[in-house]
């Protein structure tokens, strides 16, 4: 009766007994029918909800997901551009003060127009120092996006003696 711990021949022969335990006769003839009947009773394939479709779209191949992303970004940019152009049409004063927006809202070149083409502001004028103390009076609109208050920046250079 002794068994080597690494010799499982007798055990495997015993386990073969489990292959001789079939279900009642005819069981498998009816099984598939019961599954299909249950599915039909459940309404078969349930229509997916919107979030299931959305989740599947996210799980789809990367090329498709990227194209979805590109379309969404494009729509957002289009909407922003349209909104800006509508605002400019509604407010001529704003359009006059921000010509780079009024010219063409969708053109990158227009946004990146040379500084020389921009209207000269007193805050940029080296002689217009007085206006820098009161930017509200000095300029009607901020000339630059990154220098909205027309603050002057004086570079400091240090030279060792």
């Amino acid at each position: 009766m002794s068994q080597s711990p690494d010799n499982f021949d007798a055990l495997q022969k015993l386990l073969a007994l489990k292959r001789h335990e079939p279900p009642p006769p005819g069981y498998f003839n009816r099984f598939a029918g019961r599954v299909i009947a249950q599915l039909e009773a459940d309404g078969a394939m349930r229509a997916p909800t919107w979030w299931q479709r959305w989740w599947e779209a996210l799980n789809s191949p990367p090329v498709l997901a990227l194209s979805y992303g590109a379309v969404i970004v494009g729509l957002v940019m289009l909407g922003t551009g349209l909104l800006q152009s509508l605002e400019l049409e509604a407010d001529p004063a704003l359009a006059a003060s921000q010509p780079w927006l009024a010219r063409d809202s969708f053109s990158v070149a227009a946004v990146a127009a040379p500084i020389a083409e921009l209207p000269r502001s007193p805050s940029l004028d080296p002689t217009g120092l007085a206006s820098s103390f009161n930017p509200v009076l000095g300029s009607s609109a901020p000339p630059f996006l990154f220098n909205p208050n027309g603050l002057r920046v004086q570079r400091v250079s240090y030279q060792p003696r």
Partner: protein, 210 residues
């Protein structure tokens, strides 16, 4: 959890055209709502799925209910099946995971409901040789052996029992089992070795030296 097996009418077999299609084609059809295609898939795998769940539960009614649940759940989840694995492996995973959860819940109320041994068991020389000489009647010996074997299997953990059922009873390869259990082949081998050692200890009275 009990369903009468004999009350249901016998379903007509799937159309012969479907029987020639491979799993991928059948899955594509089933995804678009073709129940006849899914019926063919059920017929292909019902025996293997049922057998695995029966060896896991040692209870016919539970295996029947769990197998049905697995096929129904698989149908409703078909949209999420991307084809990264075979349909067979994917279906096995659904069935096995559901069964492991079920067994954890019923932990303390184990009830054997064993199927009768078929005619061939009495004529298997290996099995006949294992029957104790003390048993006067061969049938009684085999039935007793079947009960002891199933009781010993139930003493294994769910994962160890699953490895034994899939490899030693159903004959699946280590690689196939590793895909079903979502672990590496080394883990399957070590679980199998440990499970066999445990079974050998539990059944030492019934195992004769070769």
């Amino acid at each position: 959890m009990s369903t009468s097996v004999l009350e249901q009418p016998t379903a007509p077999p799937a159309p012969p055209v479907l029987a020639t299609l491979d799993d991928r084609a059948l899955v594509r059809r089933a995804k678009s709502g073709d129940l006849a295609a899914y019926d063919e898939l059920v017929r292909r795998y019902q025996e293997r799925i049922y057998a695995t769940l029966y060896h896991m539960t040692a209870n016919h009614e539970d295996a029947n209910d769990l197998a049905q649940e697995a096929f129904i759940k698989a149908y409703h989840s078909l949209r999420s099946f991307k084809g990264d694995s075979t349909f067979f492996t994917w279906l096995y995973r659904i069935a096995v995971n559901r069964t492991i959860n079920f067994l954890k819940q019923r932990k303390h109320k184990t009830h054997l409901s064993l199927n009768d041994l078929d005619f061939n068991a009495e004529h298997d020389p290996d099995l006949v040789a294992l029957i104790s000489d003390k048993t006067p009647r061969r049938e009684a010996g085999l039935a007793e052996l079947q009960e002891k074997l199933n009781a010993a299997m139930l003493q294994l953990s769910e994962t160890h029992r699953l490895v034994v059922a899939l490899h030693d009873v159903q004959g699946l390869s280590h690689e196939e089992i590793s895909r079903i259990m979502d672990c590496n082949v080394g883990t399957v081998r070590s679980r199998l070795f440990y499970a066999r050692q445990q079974l050998q200890c539990l059944l030492s009275d019934y195992l004769k030296s070769p």
